[in-house]
């Protein structure tokens, strides 16, 4: 047995040494220039909104490359790379390290338009219902149903929706508040919208980057929703949005353009209609950026910069007893 072991050991050592023949060079590096080039190239080949946003990525390279130097601190490198990604004006884009997370901040492009405390104190009362991810209650002496959906948690289910829609069946209209909802699981959107349509409906189209060229995209695919078999709400619905409405929130806002019984009230959304994809840099930080485009029913990708409301309304912070956006939605539903 001793001889067998002595035979195994050198064989194992030989093959361990030989495995390098199957691998390309080790690219792990903390070199600032290598990390800069890697990130710039990944974006250059895969980011989906250069053309729409009229971004000259070569010019961006020139601008930020000048800030790279040997020996710069990790903090400095992070700020340079994060600054470069911020040029994409996209919150599905960012850089993550153990000490910081870069972001653009589309929500700060517009004013704040939401305060939950005002709604509770002056409209809903503290006895509102909480069904799964939804908070809801009656407004206007029971004539309007109000549903606050702060995040697409991926937990929307039939029980939640059945209960809510049954409760507000006899109302004149329903308000779905998506202000400051920064997205999440888009499956929730299809679950909600399936309760608002009476026939299969194309909501929008989507296409995916499939090559390094600026216009290398897959064929547009239709996003469809079928009516749910159970309880549906067929009266008018107002969806409240603002600059903090992002990603799945913006997808929902875009989808409302295809639904005749739904109106969008508030401020332009933050966008985020490209699904994020990314990876790791040679130094171990992670990054992401958009690799798809959502297109409206005319196949235009223009809403990435934000889905505009049908009824534009801004909050007036001089009077903290009134939510102007909510008031306007109530008016639209009367």
């Amino acid at each position: 047995m001793k001889n067998i072991i002595l035979f195994f050991i050198p064989v194992i050592l030989v093959f361990t040494a030989c495995e390098d023949a199957f691998f390309e060079d080790d690219l792990a590096s903390t070199n600032p220039r290598e990390n800069f080039d890697y990130l710039w190239t990944e974006c250059n080949e895969k980011y989906s909104y250069f053309a729409l946003k009229n971004i000259d990525w070569d010019a961006v390279r020139k601008k930020y490359s000048a800030k790279i130097f040997e020996g710069m601190s990790e903090d400095s490198l992070f700020n340079v790379l994060g600054g470069m990604l911020a040029e994409l004006r996209d919150d599905h884009t960012g850089l993550v390290s153990s000490f910081n997370i870069s972001r653009f901040g589309t929500r700060y492009l517009g004013q704040d338009n939401f305060d939950w405390r005002i709604i509770v104190d002056h409209y809903l009362g503290q006895d509102f219902y909480a069904s799964g991810p939804f908070a809801h209650g009656f407004l206007e002496n029971g004539e309007i149903g109000y549903v606050w959906f702060p995040s697409f948690t991926g937990t929307v289910d039939d029980e939640n929706l059945d209960f809510i829609l049954e409760r507000y069946t006899d109302t004149k209209g329903l308000i779905l508040d998506l202000r400051e909802n920064n997205g999440g699981n888009i499956n929730d959107m299809f679950a909600i919208l399936s309760r608002l349509v009476e026939e299969e409906t194309i909501l929008y189209y989507s296409r995916t980057k499939n090559g390094p060229g600026r216009d290398d995209f897959s064929e547009p695919e239709a996003a469809r929703v079928k009516p749910h078999d159970d309880i549906r709400y067929t009266k008018k619905v107002a969806v409240l949005v603002d600059r903090g409405t992002y990603s799945a929130g913006s997808f929902t806002s875009l989808a409302t353009k295809a639904l005749p019984n739904v109106i969008l009230v508030g401020d332009t959304t933050g966008g985020g209609l490209g699904l994020p994809n990314g990876g790791q840099l040679p130094n171990g930080w992670t990054y992401r950026f958009s690799i798809t485009q959502a297109l409206d029913l005319d196949l235009n990708p223009d809403f990435e910069d934000g889905v505009p409301p049908d009824v534009p309304v801004l909050f007036n912070w001089d009077d903290l007893t009134i939510d102007e956006v909510l008031e306007r939605a109530i008016l639209e539903l009367q």
Binding site: I4, F7, F8, V11, I12, V14, F15, T16, C18, E19, D20, A21, F22, F23, E24, D25, D26, L27, A28, T30, Y38, E45, K46, S97, S98, I186, N187, F190, Y205, S206, T208, K209, N210, G211, P212, E221, A222, A223, R224, V225, F251, L275, P276, N277, G278, G279, Q280, L281, P282, N283, G284, W285, T286, R288, I291, T292, A294
Partner: protein, 291 residues
């Protein structure tokens, strides 16, 4: 630089072939081979060929890199289990196996730790045929083929939306195997074998994401399909080697200790994938036909 590596790969293949070439120089036929074979019909030989069910357990040291999501290597130990079926004698060998490895390889470069929940499945079937001209009384040479499909299911939470990795690598190998009887006795029931098997990929394929790695693709259009952006890429290269020490027991069962090395590099561009496995396993072979 990359051509140098391919050259090293070729050297490796040559090195693996070395023992086979040296051995073939003996050119001695197996004693009694003709009489042994001519005494039985094909059907009878098949009937008396020993057949085993194997249960494997071991450990697998893996190292991989998925260029679609990272330029960094992930490395770590995984647990290896498997079941196999083997029907073999001096002239013919058929083997099938299903193995599963699981563990948590990670990268921690520059103190940025990312851990992959890694699952590897392997299914293969192989046939080997005796080459009398290259065999002696103590060495047995067989050549043949192996059809192997290896699949990886990986989740790396640190990678967020692109955490999931799912891929398959079907390969058709050319195989050759040298077996040396190292027992001190000719007693069939107590024999011991040492064998070295090498597999060189003839058709190397990879079924994995295409240009974009986005496992949840289709979710935005209400038609989630994990394979939506997948492509079958027939390119790259793969080789594997197995070193087995087998000891046959009086009850016709056997025990086996093996070291298996398997490495591959897929084709493709931004979605290339590299992986090496070093498996050390212990196998109980249960004889099922009392031969």
């Amino acid at each position: 630089m990359y051509y140098v590596k391919i050259f090293r790969y070729l050297l490796l293949v040559l090195a693996l072939s070395g023992g086979w070439v040296l051995n073939s120089s003996a050119q001695t036929t197996v004693p009694n081979q003709q009489s042994e074979r001519s005494g039985l019909s094909k059907k009878e030989r098949r009937k008396v060929r020993p057949q085993y069910i194997g249960v494997n357990i071991g450990t697998n040291r893996i190292k991989f890199r998925d260029f679609a999501t990272s330029p960094l290597f992930y490395e770590g130990w995984t647990t290896y289990v498997g079941v196999s079926w083997l029907k073999a004698d001096r002239y013919r060998e058929s083997e099938a196996a299903l193995t599963y490895s699981f563990g948590n390889p990670e990268t921690d470069f520059n103190e940025n730790v990312a851990t992959s929940n890694f699952n590897r499945f392997e299914l293969f079937y192989s046939r080997l045929y005796h080459v009398g001209a290259w065999s002696t009384s103590s060495f047995n040479t067989k050549v043949g083929w192996m059809l192997n499909t290896t699949g990886n299911l990986r989740t790396t939470p640190e990678l967020g939306n692109y955490a999931l990795g799912l891929e398959a690598f079907p390969t058709l190998f050319f195989s050759f195997k040298l077996t040396k009887n190292i027992g001190r006795t000719e007693n069939k029931e107590r024999r011991q074998n040492l064998s070295l098997r090498t597999n060189i990929g003839l058709v190397n394929a990879a079924y994995r994401n295409g240009f974009i790695h986005y496992p949840g693709q289709g979710i935005e259009v209400n038609e989630p399909d994990i394979f939506k952006n997948y492509e079958l890429n027939v390119a790259g290269f793969r080789a594997s080697t197995g070193l087995d020490y087998t000891r046959y027991l009086r009850n016709k069962n056997a025990i086996q200790i093996s070291y298996i090395w398997d490495a591959y590099h897929t084709g493709g561009d931004l979605n290339r994938f590299e992986m090496a496995n070093h498996t050390l396993k212990f196998t109980l072979l249960f004889n099922t036909n009392n031969q």
